[in-house]
Every structure is written in C-alpha cells, then in structure tokens.
Amino acid sequence: MMPNRQRGISLTQFTNAYVPFALLIVLALLLPETTPNLDRYRTIFTIWATTVLLIPALCLYPFSDGSDAVHNYWHLLWTFSYLAFLFHFYWAVFVIFKGVQGTFVGQGPLIATINFVLTAWWGTDIALSWFVASCPTWVRWERAGAHLFVFLIFSVTTLVLRPTPVTRVLGLGLTIAVAASFAIWLIVRDSAPAAAELPEAK
C-alpha cells in the first residue's frame, strides 16, 4: 500500500478536508460554553471530532495507493485528524491532568503510556508522510502499524472503555466503516489480477 508520493493537492481537495476539520474544531471549542464543565467537554468534543475525521482517513488508507485523489484525501484527513487529536491531547494532558506527571497519576501508567505512544507514533508517521519523499519497506510497515494501532485504540476506547451513547455510535461507525473498507480492499485486490486478464473491451 501507498508509497510516499508527494502528489499535487488541489484546492478542492484541501478545502474538502480542511473545512470539515476546522468546523469540527470550532464546534468542539465553542459548544462547551453551554455545558457545565468547559474544559472537560472541550476534551470530550475534540476526541469526537478526531474520531469523525479518522473514519474516512482509515477507510481511505487501504486504497491510498490508487489514484492521486484518493491518496491526497487520505493524506489530508490522516493529517487533520491528527491535528484534531492534538487539541484533545493538549486539553487532556495540560488542562485536565495538569501535565505529563498528572496524566500518569490520573489515567494510570498503562493507559497514559499507550496514549503517549499513540501520540508520538501517529505524529511521527504524519511527519514521514510529508517530509520523506521515498517510501521504503520499513515505512510501509510502520504506516500500516500506525493505522492499525490508531484504529484499535479508538475502537476499543469508544466501544469498551468510554461507552457513552455518542462514543458508542462513533465507535460502531468507525469499526463498521473500517472493516467494510478493508473487506472491499481485499475483494478488489484479489480480483485485480483476474480483471487484468480480461480481454480489453471493444
């Protein structure tokens, strides 16, 4: 899947990815003004925004080796979902838990470590995707691992660890959409050689 190709991102592609990201973050930062706890709900709403952006990013990932358009949309959504996640990360770590040490105390060593690894790995992959032109095998494996890790963390968190009605819907949407996308990719991939053998349409 998907070598690191720096393909020309069109204004339309950028707009289609950026505007939803920006509007979701605006909502995630402003809507808490109507809630009983500003910081807590900013933390919650930013992770919801991240999940919403992550669904198309993860769904597009298996196909990102295809057309330039699909690749660019994956690249932009993967990046913007991470930027959204950074808003959540800031509020969770520095506002709610008052720093890295407080995060370990508040979340416990296991959860906190997983969250910091997630943030670092995802960020590293974003950097590689933008700044490393070639895509050696180790990057392919790294990227596949990053996507799998992010998917597992988000699906487990939304469906098991924090199953509020909204997160459950988001988690189900994420899991079903990504599973369907992967299944389609498998089908398409398996049928691709056969299709290649078909006689050219007259």
Binding site: Y18, A22, L29, P36
Partner: protein, 541 residues
C-alpha cells in the same frame, strides 16, 4: 447565455479561497477564546481563613452582578424598590461599594462549571448564612456576629423570587443592558459580557423549565414570603432538598425537613457535625454545605474554590462566639444566681438510659453539652452521642425522611475519586459508623447567641427551651429583635411588616416539642426559681 467552464472553475476557486479563509478566521477565534477566557479570572488568590469565610468564593455563583443589580428595577413586585430587597429577605447590610449584603461575593467564575467569565458573577460566601446581627445599635455594618445562622435570612424566599423573575420573558439581555446602563456610574456592558449574560440566562431558564414538571413553578411576589408557599422561613434551610435533587434526581418537594442554619463555633469540639451527627470530616461538612447551596463537584475541584472551602473551615475550627456581657454590657449578671444555676446545669436532671447502648446516666445539661472551664470547653459525658429521636422527642422529620438512609451511599460515590472533597463512606452516617436516627449532643458555647433553638428553629428563647416558660405554639418570624431577658428572639403576638412569617409549630417539620430538660414544663419537679438561676448561668456560656 451559459457560464463557461473556465469561468465556473474560477468562481469555484474564489469561493473555496473565501471559504477556507473564513473558516480559518473562525478557527483562529475559537482557538483564541480559551486563551482569552484565562485572562478573565485573576491570578489564583490564597485567602486567609477569615477572609475565605467572609468573602471567598465557595462555588455558589448564581447570577451576574449586573442582573442582580437591575432586578429591583425590573421586578419591584418581587424585590421591592431600590435596595429594600436586602431587608425584605433578611440579608444583612454591609458597606460593600456595590451595595451587596453581607456574604454576597463577586468572582469571575461561572455558575456550576466555575469556568472563567467576562462578567462578574455573584455567589455566596459562608458568612451569608453563618452570621447574624444580635443587637441593633444603629451601625449595622459593625454588628455582624460570625458563626450563628442569620436569624432573619429567608434565603429560600429570595431564591423563589429570583426564579420567578428568571422565568419572566420581560427579562432579556437588552432589558438588562438598558436598565443597567441607566444606573449612576455604570458603563455599558461589553459584547462579551452581554454574550455571557445571554448564555447564562438561556441556561438558567432551560434548567428551570425542565424542572417545572418535577418542582412546579416559583411563586414570587409576596407569596414567596408566606409559609403556605415557601414554608422554610427565616434562619432555616432545607438541607436535603438540593442534595436529593442532585444526587438522587428526585423532586425532594415532599420532605418537611426544615433545619436551622447551623452555628459554626469551635468546630474542633465536634467530631461529628450536623444536627444528627451525620458528617465527620470538617472539610467535608463545609463542602457539603457549599454543595447544598449550589456548588458542584466540578467547581469545588477548582484549586481557588477548594482552597477557600478549606480555609473557611479552618476559620470555624476555632471561631468563638461572643459572650452575653460583650453584647449586653449594661446587663450585669447576678453572680449568686449564676452560681446556683451552675449547680442546676451540672446536677439537675432525670435518671435515664440514653442512646442506643442504653447507658444509664443522669441527664444533666452538662452531661450532654459540657461546660466551659478557664476558657476551655470541657466535654460532657454524653457529648457526641446521638440520642434517638424517640427519646429526645424533638421533631423527627430531619431524620425520618424517605431518603435518609440512601443519601450517604450516593454521596460517597457522587464526587469522583481523587476529588478534593471526595466523601469517605466511613465519615457519613447512617453507615458503618452508626445508624441511629436522632440528634447529637453538641457543645453550646455562646448559647445565648445560638437562638433560635432546636434543630428546626422552633423555639425562640432559652427560657422556653429549658421550660422556664411555656413554648409558644405560634411565633412570627422575620427580622426579630433580640430579647435579652428571655434570652433569644422576641416575637409579637401577630404578624406585622417586619414579622411576616407565621411559624406554626403544629405543622409537619415545625414541632417545638421534646428536649424537656431539666424538667417538663409544669411537671412535679419543675421549679421556677431554679430555672431562672439556670437561665442566668446559661448567659455565661
């Protein structure tokens, strides 16, 4: 004539650039807002214990200051004209430059969340409820006695009137703003202040509207001052109403649990607090009081507010009440009567089995309440014991209401783990530390200033409490003056403008029966002379 593809693409491109720019500006504003919000709250202030008690925010922010200041102009039928609302509801006047009564504290924390606000919000500090004016000598601001419940404060009536006004559609951001700016020396409200007031008003109204099916409509006007509509009355609270509503999500309207605002002298003398001895930890009892007055688990976790609650608690740990002679220096005590009275205090009483353990003791005043010695309070033999209500025979509603046993379990898990005021289950009763439904024997230092008496404030004077005089079945409450002879609050025989609240002790939750010590009125052992001596001694505590 159609549009060319090239031109359409050009227009689309322009639209996309405008859209991205506009959304980027919006995003920048949304990101700037949290930074701006942090500038609305001044640097965290660490108040000394007394300052925290008198003016520290304890998370009870309720209403924007500009809104509070225009309420009498917009709703004179509920609040009276000008600043008469202060007297109407029994608040204590102060020298505050904003004209706020004692205990109204201003902060830039929003209600409930404690989030920063561009407009100042008014909340309550501890001194609002826990201070009173015993003697009116003309200089009102200088006569505040911290510690006892405010004998004139009808807080529930004020809240009822406030809710009525908030439900009134005439109250809008525009009417608030227009009325506010007409006041002398007031600057127009800023855009952010108006926005915050609008946000608050919408939220307040939504909460009230959603509660109407459960709690019914507020009364407002003069009805809020009548016992038929708002039966709490002056110097009393319904401590469990808010807790039942917020912790159990039940209406809590059928409970006749009317409780005197507690006196908070020398809390260090009391291992277990509240009239029924249901809370142990001093900070926890303060946090629960703040919670019952509107604070939340969220804002009680804010360091500044949590610090104020702790510091205010420290103030009450050693706070001493005044002596009778300090307040009434012209009324010298009869030393011989005091001496004889002390003998009654320490020696007169019925032999009885007391408490759940059935301990057989002589029920003297001293055994239950202790006495002072060289400036130190010496605990009585039974001090701290919870006496079953069936034995003491005072009004049982406080300890027999429907949810009495469920509240501690829910409170113990209501505040999240690691919260500054996380309640330990062992510090709440009924529970592992005891299940007796009754009233705790507590110290009575500065007894004369603790008026009115019994947990439901149904007895106005010490003369009635010790059965020197028969207890009045009906008294009239409001801004009652102090009666230094019978030692307590005076009451006229009928209502008037000042004594508007008819406290009928035959009604549920208002009983003035029980605690017939040292003897029931008119019983064979009853002795007027000895009781007069006892009353004289009680003035010295």
């Amino acid at each position: 004539m159609g549009i060319s593809v090239t031109r359409a693409r050009g227009l689309l491109r322009i639209f996309q650039i405008i859209l991205v720019t506009a959304v980027s500006l919006l995003l920048a504003l949304a990101i700037a807002l949290p930074m701006l919000e942090r500038s609305w709250v001044t640097a965290e202030e660490h108040l000394a214990p007394k300052d925290a008690f008198f003016r520290g925010s304890i998370g009870t922010e309720l209403i924007p200051l500009p809104v509070l200041q225009v309420l009498p102009d917009l709703f004179p039928e509920d609040f009276g004209a000008g600043d008469t609302w202060i007297d109407r509801f029994g608040f204590l006047r102060s020298s505050d430059p904003d004209g706020l009564p004692v205990g109204f504290t201003v902060s830039h924390h929003r209600p409930q969340s404690g989030a920063p606000s561009p407009v100042p919000f008014v909340g309550f500090s501890c001194v609002l409820c826990h201070s009173t004016r015993i003697r009116d000598t003309g200089n009102q601001a200088e006569q505040i006695v911290p510690g006892p419940g405010n004998s004139s404060l009808n807080l529930f009536a004020w809240i009822d009137s406030l809710q009525k006004a908030m439900m009134d559609e005439r109250l809008t951001v525009k009417t608030i703003s227009d009325t506010y700016v007409k006041k002398p020396g007031r600057q127009p409200l800023t855009v952010s202040q108006r926005a915050m007031i609008g946000l608050w008003l919408r939220g307040f109204r939504k909460t009230l509207s959603e509660g109407l099916p459960k709690f019914d409509e507020p009364f407002g006007g003069d009805l809020s001052l009548t016992p038929e509509c708002v039966p709490t009355g002056p110097d009393r609270t319904q401590p469990f109403r808010t807790i039942v509503r917020r912790v159990l999500d039940r209406p809590g309207t059928e409970m006749s649990v009317y409780t005197k605002v507690a006196t908070v002298y020398q809390e260090q003398l009391r291992e277990w607090s509240q009239f029924d001895g249901s809370i142990r930890d001093l900070n926890a009892r303060s946090a629960l009081a703040a919670f019952a007055a509107g604070a939340t688990a969220d804002n009680l976790a804010i360091p500044e507010i949590a610090g104020n609650v702790r510091q205010a608690s420290e103030y009450t740990r050693t706070l001493r009440g005044p002596t009778y002679e300090q307040i009434f220096p012209e009324r010298s005590l009869d030393a011989e009567k005091v001496r004889r009275g002390k003998v009654i205090y320490t020696g007169a009483g019925l032999d009885a089995s007391v408490g759940v353990s059935g301990k057989h003791v002589k029920l003297t005043c001293d055994a239950c309440h202790g006495h002072p010695e060289n400036g130190v309070w010496i605990a009585g033999e039974l001090q701290g014991v919870v006496i079953p209500w069936e034995q003491i025979k005072t009004d049982p509603e406080r300890v027999t209401y429907r949810y009495y046993e469920r509240i501690p379990d829910r409170l113990a898990v209501f505040f999240p783990a690691n919260h500054p005021f996380e309640f330990k289950r062992g510090d709440l009763r009924p529970g592992p530390a005891g299940t007796t439904r009754g009233y705790i024997n507590a110290p009575i230092d500065s007894a004369f200033s603790r008026t009115p008496y019994l947990h439901n404030a149904s007895v106005l004077t010490l003369a009635e409490l010790i059965n020197l005089k028969p207890r009045r079945a009906v008294v009239y409450r409001g801004r009652n003056s102090y009666d230094p002879v019978d030692v307590g609050l005076s009451s006229p025989d009928g209502p008037d403008a000042v004594h508007y609240f008819r406290l009928d002790t035959s009604l549920r939750g208002n009983s003035n029966k029980g605690h017939d010590y040292p003897w029931p009125y008119g019983s064979p052992k009853w002795n007027r002379g000895q009781l007069e001596d006892l009353l004289e001694y009680l003035k010295t505590l």
